[in-house]
Symmetry: C2
Subunit: 614 residues, 2 copies
C-alpha cells in the first residue's frame, strides 16, 4: 500500500534524532570498531587464513555477525554522510572476509576448519545461517548506498552457497536463530534475483516442522514448534520471533501469499495487545530471552531486549507498508523513543542489552574496559560477551531516515517527525519537497512547509499518533481537530503551503489492562511519544523509589515534568503477609519525572516506570 522512499530522500537535520545520528557517527561507530579489534572477533577471519583459527579463535559462535552488523551500520552511515573514511573501512574489512571465504562460498570462523567442528553440525546453536544473514543484510545496505563491490560479491557467494546447500533438494533444516530468511528476501529484492526469495520461502516453510531438538526452553524458543502460518501468537525468543516474522512478511509480499501475511498480522496484533511493554519493548523472560504468556509483563524482570525492539521495528515497518495502519507507525515511534533511545548512553559508548522498567537496587558503573558477561545490567555496559545490541543500535540509527516517510499513488505519507527535509518523487511525475520543523519529543508540535521545488498535485498524509489528544491541524490558517490515524490534506502540494500540527503535550496517565498482574494498582505517565519514570537521583534524603505513591497530579514547571507523590518508608515485619494492614503517615513531595530513555545517565539509581497509586 505504501512505498518506501530512498534513504537519500530524507535528511534529518536537527533535534533529538539528529543528535543520536551525530553521536553514532562520532562515538558509537568508533567504539564498536575498537571492541571488534580488541575482542579478536575481527581477527578471527585472519586466523582462518593463517590456519590458526582452531587454536586462537575468540568469541562466541555468533561473533562473526557483529562484524557484519557493523558493516551494515558503516554502509548506511556512508550513504548518509559520504564520509570516505567509512568507505575505506568497509573495503578493508571486505578484503579480510574475501580472504577467509571458502571456494564454495561458505564463510564462518567457528565451524568447518581443521580442528573445529564440521560445517552444519549444530543447527540449534551453531548460528552459521544467522551469521550469513547478517552478512547478506550488510550487502543489501551496500547495494543501496554504494553498489556492487567486494563485499556484495562475498555476500552473493554466501547466498548462492546457501541456495545450493539448503535448496529444495538440499538439507531440509532451519537455523536455530532466524535471520537468513529476511536477509535472503531483502537480497532478492536488492539484486532482482528471485531465487533468493524462493530460498527464504523454503526456510520460512520449514519452521515448525520440529527439525530442531526439544530443548529446556522448548522448540517454541526457535519458533520450530508450530508452522508460521499456524501459530496464533508471537512466542519464544523474541529476537528470533521478530526476525522470522519480518522474513515471513517479505516472502508473503513478494509472492502475494495473503495467508502467510495474515498469520503474521494476527500474531503481531496479539503481541501488541497482550505481550508488549508500555515502552514497546518485547520479551518478558530473562531465562530464554522470550515472550511470556499473555499479560505476563513484569516490570522488574522485563527483558525487553534492545535487539527485540529493533526487530519489532522491522516487523511493524513491513506491516505498515502492506496495510497502512497507523498503529504500526505508532509502534515504531514508541520503540525508537523508549527502547532504542534508552539502550544507548548519552555518551554513545555504553548500552543496555535489556531494558528493565523497574530498577530495584542501585547498580554499579560498568568498567569502560571490561566486557559484561551478562545481559542484565543496572547501568549500561561498554560491551558484552553476547554483544548483539551495540551493532544493532548503530545500524538502526544510521538508517533511521528510512522510517520517516512513504509514498503512494498520489500522496506523501509522513510517519515519523524528526526535523528534516524530505525530497522525493510522488507518483509518476510529482515531486514532494517538504521541510519539517518539529518540537518532538518534548512537545507534540510541528510545522511542515511545502518547498519551492515541489511539483505536481499530491496529497499529504500525516500520522496522528495514538497518544494525541485535542490534536489540531492548521493549513494556511484553516484549523480543525483530528483524531488518531492518518489525516489526509488533499492537494497540499502547492509550494509555500504551511501546515501547523499540534498533537498535544499534556501528560497522559495510563492505566494498564487489568490482566497485566505485574502492574495492578499502578499507572504510567506518557507525554508525547515518551514514557516517563521516576529515578532515585531526583529524590531527597537518599530515598529510593519504592517509598513513593503517586497522587496522579503531574504538571509542567519550568520545563520539567513535576509530579506529586506521597512518601511512606515501610518498616519490615518478620513476615510480610499479614491480616492486619497498617501504614505510616505519608508526607507529600513534588519531584520531577524524567523521560525513561534518559534514565541511568546520572549514576547508580533506582527507577520505576509504573507508579503505585492510591
Amino acid at each position: 500500500r505504501f512505498k518506501p522512499v530512498s534513504l537519500n530522500d530524507v535528511t534529518i537535520d536537527e533535534g533529538f534524532w539528529k543528535d543520536y545520528q551525530d553521536l553514532n557517527h562520532e562515538v558509537t561507530l568508533a567504539h564498536i570498531d575498537k571492541w571488534l579489534e580488541r575482542t579478536g572477533w575481527l581477527k578471527n577471519f585472519e586466523l582462518v587464513v593463517s590456519g590458526n583459527i582452531a587454536q586462537e579463535r575468540k568469541g562466541r559462535e555468533f561473533s562473526d555477525s557483529e562484524i557484519y552488523k557493523y558493516l551494515e551500520a558503516l554502509s548506511w552511515e556512508y550513504g548518509r554522510t559520504g564520509d570516505p573514511a567509512l568507505n575505506e573501512r568497509i573495503e578493508a574489512i571486505a578484503r579480510t572476509l574475501e580472504a577467509a571465504q571458502d571456494e564454495d562460498g561458505y564463510l564462518n570462523t567457528r565451524f568447518g576448519h581443521p580442528g573445529l567442528e564440521p560445517r552444519y553440525s549444530d543447527f540449534e546453536w551453531g548460528h552459521e545461517l544467522y551469521c550469513f544473514g547478517h552478512l547478506i543484510q550488510a550487502a543489501v545496505a551496500r547495494l543501496r548506498t554504494f553498489g556492487e563491490d567486494r563485499l556484495t560479491a562475498v555476500a552473493r557467494r554466501v547466498a548462492d552457497h546457501v541456495c545450493e546447500t539448503f535448496g529444495p533438494d538440499g538439507l531440509d533444516v532451519i537455523c536455530g536463530h532466524a535471520e537468513i530468511e529476511v536477509a535472503l528476501a531483502e537480497f532478492g529484492r536488492a539484486t532482482g534475483e528471485r531465487k533468493y526469495i524462493e530460498q527464504a520461502r523454503l526456510f520460512i516453510d520449514r519452521h515448525g516442522k520440529q527439525s530442531l531438538a526439544d530443548i529446556e526452553f522448548s522448540r517454541a524458543y526457535f519458533q520450530d514448534d508450530v508452522p508460521v502460518r499456524e501459530a496464533d501468537s508471537m512466542r519464544g525468543h523474541a529476537v528470533r520471533a521478530m526476525y522470522l516474522s519480518a522474513g515471513a512478511l517479505d516472502v508473503a509480499h513478494e509472492s502475494n501469499d495473503h495467508g502467510l501475511a495474515e498469520a503474521v498480522r494476527n500474531q503481531w496484533d496479539r503481541a501488541l495487545a497482550r505481550r508488549t511493554y508500555v515502552t514497546g519493548g518485547m520479551g518478558s523472560h530473562h531465562q530464554d530471552e522470550a515472550f511470556g504468556e499473555d499479560f505476563e509483563l513484569p516490570s522488574d524482570r522485563a527483558y525487553s531486549e534492545t535487539c527485540a525492539g529493533i526487530g519489532s521495528i522491522m516487523v511493524a515497518w513491513r506491516l505498515l507498508l502492506a496495510d497502512g495502519q497507523a498503529q504500526e507507525a505508532d509502534h515504531i515511534e514508541r520503540v525508537l523513543f523508549n527502547v532504542l533511545a534508552t539502550a544507548l548512553a548519552d555518551s554513545g559508548d555504553a548500552f543496555f542489552y535489556t531494558n528493565s522498567l523497574h530498577q530495584r537496587v542501585r547498580g554499579h558503573e560498568a568498567h569502560p574496559d571490561e566486557i559484561s558477561p551478562r545481559a542484565h545490567a543496572s547501568l549500561r555496559a561498554p560491551w558484552f560477551e553476547v554483544s548483539c545490541c551495540p551493532t544493532n543500535i548503530s545500524r538502526t540509527i544510521a538508517s533511521l531516515g528510512a522510517y520517516v516517510a512513504t509514498t503512494s499513488q498520489n500522496a506523501l505519507q509522513i510517519h515519523q517527525y524528526p526535523s528534516g527535509i524530505l525530497d522525493t518523487r510522488v507518483g509518476e511525475s510529482g515531486r514532494a519537497q517538504v521541510r519539517v520543523r518539529s518540537e518532538f519529543p518534548r512537545r507534540g508540535r510541528l510545522r511542515i512547509e511545502v518547498g519551492a521545488e515541489s511539483r505536481g498535485v499530491w496529497d499529504l498524509q500525516l500520522r496522528v499518533p495514538g497518544w494525541a489528544a485535542d490534536a489540531r491541524v492548521t493549513v494556511n490558517g484553516d484549523s480543525w481537530a483530528v483524531t488518531s490515524g492518518y489525516v489526509t490534506l488533499t492537494e497540499a502540494s502547492a509550494p509555500g503551503t504551511i501546515i501547523d500540527v499540534d498533537f498535544g503535550s499534556q501528560p497522559r496517565i495510563l492505566e494498564p489492562d487489568p490482566r497485566i498482574d505485574a502492574v495492578r494498582g499502578c499507572v504510567a505517565v506518557q507525554v508525547g511519544p515518551q514514557v516517563y519514570c521516576v529515578e532515585s537521583v531526583d529524590l531527597p534524603d537518599d530515598l529510593d523509589v519504592d517509598v513513593l505513591t503517586f497522587t496522579r497530579d503531574v504538571r509542567w514547571e519550568d520545563g520539567l515534568l513535576v509530579g506529586d507523590f506521597l512518601v511512606s518508608v515501610p518498616e519490615d515485619s518478620a513476615w510480610p503477609y499479614s491480616a492486619d494492614s497498617s501504614g505510616a503517615t505519608p508526607r507529600k513531595i513534588s519531584i520531577p519525572l524524567r523521560p525513561y530513555n534518559s534514565w541511568g545517565n546520572r549514576g547508580p539509581a533506582t527507577m520505576r516506570v509504573w507508579l503505585p497509586v492510591l
Copy 2:
C-alpha cells in the same frame, strides 16, 4: 536450646502426614527406583567397574546424587518401618557403590575415569563434592537407623578422601554447589569424629573468596561473591544458599562460633521478611533458580523450587534448635503444607520441580514415561533430566517425624501437630509419653493426652502458630487465651492430663507488604497452615481465573471454603495501556477455594493464589 528427639520416638499414625508417609512407602520409593534403573543412572556405577563408563554413561554430571538421596530416603524409611525389603535394597546398592569406588576413596561416575575429564577439573559445574555430600548424608541416615555397614564404610572412605584432598594443606577451593559442608558436619556428629566438622568449616570459610569463575549469573549464584559471615542476605541459587546455610549453622554450633551463626540468622531473617513467598517457597528467578532482589516475588514466575523449600526446612530447623524461636517452626509448617505437599501428586508418582503461585494457561498432562527436559511445568511430571526434587521429597517425607518435637532441660516442645505418639526422654530421668489427635490442617484443633507411661515432672511447650487467632488452650477443663509463640504448660506431665488446643479455623485474608509489587492490589486466603487458591476447574462456563475479582467474602459451607467473586471477562484493546478506563459490568459468583497443595490434581487448569480485590 532445644535438643532433637530420636526419630524412633515419634510415630505419626493418622491423618494428613500419615497419608503422605504411606504414599511415599507404597508408591514414591518404587517409582524412584524404577526411574533410577530406567535412566541408567544407577547402572553408571556398574559401567565404572566394567570400564565402559566413558562410552555409555547416562545422565547429567550430578546424577550420582540421586542414587544417594534415594539411599537416604530408604534408610529413613527403613528406620521408620523396619521393612526388610528396603534394607536389602540399601545393601545391594551399597555393594554396587563399593565396587565402583577408587582405592583412595574417590567415587564418581562422571569424572576421573579413562575417557572422561580428570577429577576436580570443573569446580563450577562438576558437582563431585556435591555428590559426595549426598552420599555422606545417606550414611548419616544409615548410622541413625541401622548402624555401621557397607554403605557407611564407603561414605567414610569418601569423607576421608575429601579431608585429605581439601584439607588445610590441600586444594583451596569449594564446590560450585554447596552440600559437602552440611554433610560433613552431620557425619562428624554421627561418627563423633571432629575432623569432618573441621573440614566442613574449611569449606564454609572458603566461600566468598572468589575461587570460582564469574559466570553469567555472577558468583553470587554459588555464594562465592562474599564470605558467609559478611553477607547480608540470602542470595544466588536458592538450593545452594540453603544447603550452605545449614552447613554453616552446624559448624557454628559445633564450635560455638556465634559470629557465624549470627550472620546466617540475619540473612535468614531478611529472607523471611523480603524474599519468601506466602507459601514459604524461596527463589524468584527461573533463569538462575535464584533469590531475587528484596520484594521481587512474582507469582507467575515463582520458581519456589521444591528442593529450596526442603533446604529451607534444614536451615529453619537448625535455627529453631539454637534459638528456640517459633517463627522457625512456623516456617517449617508453612513449607511442609504449601511446598512439600504441593510438589507431590496425589498419585505419588509425579512432582512439581517449581511451585508457581499463578498458572496463567492450562497445561498438558505429562506423559508418564517421558522425562521432562525442563524444570517448569504446568502439571506435575514423573521425572526430570535434572531430577533432584523427587528423591528430596521422598527423603524428607520419610524423616518427617524428626521435626515434630524437641526437649530441653525440663520440658518437651511440640512444634508440629500431626496425629501421633511421642515417647521420649526428658531431662535426666523423665519420660514423656504423649498422644496427639489433630484435625490439622483443615481445622486448627488438637487434643493432647499425657500417657500412662510418662515419668517425672516436666513442662509441655506448645507452639502457637503465627496464623492462630483467638487461640485457646484448655487443660483439664481450665481454659485460657494464648498468642503466637510457645505457650508453656507448667508441670503438665501427670499421666491422664488432657490438653485441648484450638488455634482457630477461620479464613484469614492476607495483605502483602506494599513493596511486593507483583501482588499489589491482591490478597491471599489462608486457613490454618494452608494457603488456598482458586483453580479454573471450579469455575463455570470454562472460564479461567483471570476473570475473577475477590470480594473478600469467604466462609465454610458444607466443608468447602467458598468465596464470593465478581466475574468480568475483559475485552482486548489493540493497545492495553490507555488513559480511559472502562469496565464491563461484573456478575457475582460463589466458588470454592482449595488448598494450594491440592491444585493440579484434576487435570489442566489455570490457578492463582493471590486474588485481585476491588
